[in-house]
């Protein structure tokens, strides 16, 4: 309000605001740091998360250099432990968990449901600040010398034995956790109360469904982690025995509470990715999403049943064998809806008019890698296999297939798909396709060898290892170089496109979502006239496919009402 004086857009002669949309609405630092516009907050998040992604990336680059040789020769054992811990903490809580919801969810959720903003814009800004404060604690930990507990903070190592900055790291996670809870509440309320007229629940795009279900998971799971960390900190700081066996406590209890959050956290990471892919594939296949209803049910099922399976992280922990049986069974059950989603994406291609722009390539990559990740999840759900594979590189490979192959691929799919909406510019297609393919191969190159060495017995979190595993580590490190290049490329060409990219029309993909009905980039108030909705989502129709010059293609006339069901 008070910064209107500084705000050059309030001057009537500034013509550039007309087509710069929300980006033109103030250029001062203050206009960004105090903004309540969900789109600008999304940009703030994107920048923050990019920084953390690269800090986490540097950490793991050092780890991969160390692992080229079997001996501990590049960094010391303590430094190595701090590096992989930092990588884990940053990547999980400061990239993967907030990645798609806080950036694309923030940017797109109101646009997709035809709202002016999220329900609580100031809370939204506050959640960004919480993430930044949490991030500041992480940076403090980094500068002060690091933390060496692994991202899992297992007691009693974390609560008693570690000599590193455990409390600061736990506070970082705690604070950032409340940032995501705030975002989750905001998304839930927005989806419930701010949908455009006519936009019934079963007309919502799946991305919105994904944001909604993931928000429910966030608000119900994250507080349990917060309490687990609080108790761990209480034990470390005040010496009250809670997980300490010397006072009669049980260290396994921490694991239960931790995984009650951290297994659903995997779904916090992957559900938004599923939402993205469910938008991209129908658009580039020009085809209504196959089995929309089932896709919705699958999302809901995953988000609920995802809470029942945490014990499969603890098959060798000393958990009761009968609990192992229960958790193993439930883990197989939760794989069913994931499989349904994969089949539905595939079936969406049937009778489509498929083109292969970069977002579609990333989405294909996602389906392939997620399928691999999901199927290896079945290995880990079956007890005898898990006993051998857990805490080895098999697990590392498995969850990187899901989180990096899955979530990060989808993140890049989303980045390219909505880049024109966010910035008003097109990215360079050739470069982007190249990066997408490179990422796919670099990823498999890096992580596939880890399945083999994991099954052969290579434990995780080892800075030195028996020489028979060296070949796999060398392969993996070489692949990581390719992967790093594939991550750096978009940073280059997307930045380039901000200035020199082709100006995009409002709807370059001819997509059907409401977000494409406003200008690119959208005005601060999102829609000049709030839309009403009369159709089911993904109203693509391959028969009526026409190409219209600049805005690559549109689907206009055909939408006369090809309702099928």
């Amino acid at each position: 309000m008070s910064d209107a004086v500084l705000d050059d857009t309030s001057l009537p002669h500034d013509v550039s605001t007309f087509d710069k949309g929300y980006l033109g609405d103030g250029h001062t630092l203050r206009s960004w740091l105090l903004t309540t516009d969900h789109k600008r907050i999304a940009i703030l998040y994107a920048l923050t998360l990019t920084i953390f992604f690269f800090i986490g990336g540097v950490a793991i680059a050092l780890v991969r250099i160390e692992l080229v040789t079997p001996a501990q020769d590049f960094v010391t054992a303590d430094e190595y432990n701090r590096l992989f811990t930092l990588h884990g903490i940053i990547m999980v809580w400061f990239f993967l968990v907030p990645s798609i919801p806080a950036t694309f969810g923030n940017f797109l959720l109101p646009l997709m449901i035809g709202a002016r903003d999220l329900a609580f814009p100031r809370l939204n800004l506050f959640s960004w600040y919480l993430t930044v404060i949490g991030g500041a604690f992480t940076v403090y930990v980094l500068l002060a010398g690091g933390v060496d507990t692994g991202w899992t903070f297992y007691t009693p190592y974390s609560s008693i034995y570690s000599n590193s900055h455990v409390i600061a790291a736990a506070i970082a996670v705690f604070v950032a956790g409340f940032g995501t809870i705030a975002t989750g509440i905001n998304f839930i309320v927005t989806t419930h109360t701010m949908r455009a007229p006519g936009l019934t629940w079963f007309r919502l795009p799946l991305f919105v469904w994904a944001m909604y279900t993931v928000s429910v998971v966030i608000i119900l799971a994250t507080p349990v982690l917060a309490m687990a960390l609080t108790l761990m900190m209480a034990e470390r700081f005040f010496g009250v025995p809670i997980f300490n066996p010397q006072g009669g406590g049980d260290p396994i209890l921490f694991q239960h509470l931790f995984w009650f959050y951290s297994h659903p956290a995997v779904y916090i990471m992957i559900l938004p990715a599923m939402g993205v892919v469910s938008e991209v594939i129908p658009c580039f296949a020009r085809r209504r999403l196959f089995g929309y209803d089932f896709m919705v049910y699958a999302l809901v099922a995953i988000s609920v049943v995802g809470f029942f399976v945490w014990g499969h992280h603890m098959f060798v922990s000393g958990e009761s064998p009968y609990a192992n049986l229960v958790f193993s069974f439930l883990s197989f059950v939760v794989a069913v809806p994931s499989a349904i989603k994969v089949f539905n994406w595939t079936a969406t291609l049937y009778r489509g008019q498929i083109t292969y722009e970069a977002p579609m390539l990333y989405a294909f990559g996602f389906v392939g890698l997620f399928t691999m990740g999901g199927l290896t999840g079945l290995f880990l759900a079956s007890i005898p296999i898990d006993v051998q594979a857990t805490d080895t590189y098999f697990v590392i490979a498995h969850f990187h297939y899901v989180m990096v192959g899955g979530t990060v691929s989808a993140f890049f799919a989303a980045l390219h798909f909505w880049w024109s909406k966010i910035t008003g510019r097109m990215y360079p297609e050739t470069w982007a396709r190249f990066a997408a393919v490179l990422m796919y191969f670099g990823f498999n190159f890096t992580f596939f060898p880890q399945f083999i060495m994991g099954w052969a017995g290579m434990p995780r979190r080892y800075g030195s290892y028996p020489p028979e595993f060296q070949i796999y580590h060398v392969l993996s490190s070489a692949g990581a170089v390719v992967l790093a290049a594939a991550y750096l490329m978009p940073l280059g060409y997307l930045t380039w496109s901000l200035r020199w990219g082709r100006r995009a029309g409002d709807n370059p993909w001819g997509a059907t979502g409401l977000e494409w009905q406003t200008s690119s980039p959208p005005p601060t108030h999102n829609f000049d006239k709030l839309p009403t909705v009369e159709r089911a989502p993904y109203d693509y129709h391959p028969e009526g496919y026409v190409e219209t010059g600049e805005a690559a293609r549109t689907i206009e006339a055909s939408q006369k009402g090809g309702e099928q069901e």
């Binding site: 429910v216 119900l220 009650f260 029942f308 014990g311 958990e319 009761s320 009968y322 609990a323 958790f327």
Partner: protein, 104 residues
């Protein structure tokens, strides 16, 4: 009962009308508290006492939620979210005791 839409001055309840129901509920809650404390001193098996305490506590929680927090007047969505909190605690307890309940 609930004042939907625009409110006119002549609809305004008296303080007495507003206070009556919560006051009765408070009385019940205080009596329940007294019962609970009293029951703690009865010479019966500990688990029976604990069960009684928990039942009384559940009643207290329900009264606070439904009357004081006006859950009685809320739509299904809000009830669903309130219920979700309790259901998820039940999930946590149920599955955590699938370990602790049969460990030894």
């Amino acid at each position: 009962m609930s004042a939907a839409g625009r409110r006119r001055h002549d609809d305004m309840p008296t303080v007495r009308e507003i206070v009556r129901r919560p006051a009765w509920v408070l009385l019940v809650l205080l009596v329940a508290l007294g019962l609970n404390i009293g029951a703690a001193f009865l010479p019966i098996a500990p688990f029976l006492k604990t069960a009684f305490h928990l039942i009384v506590a559940a009643g207290t929680v329900a009264l606070i939620a439904f009357i004081f927090m006006e859950m009685e007047k809320k739509g299904p969505t809000i009830r669903l979210f309130a219920a979700a909190g309790f259901i998820w605690i039940a999930i946590l307890f149920l599955l955590i005791f699938s370990d602790y309940g049969i460990r030894r």
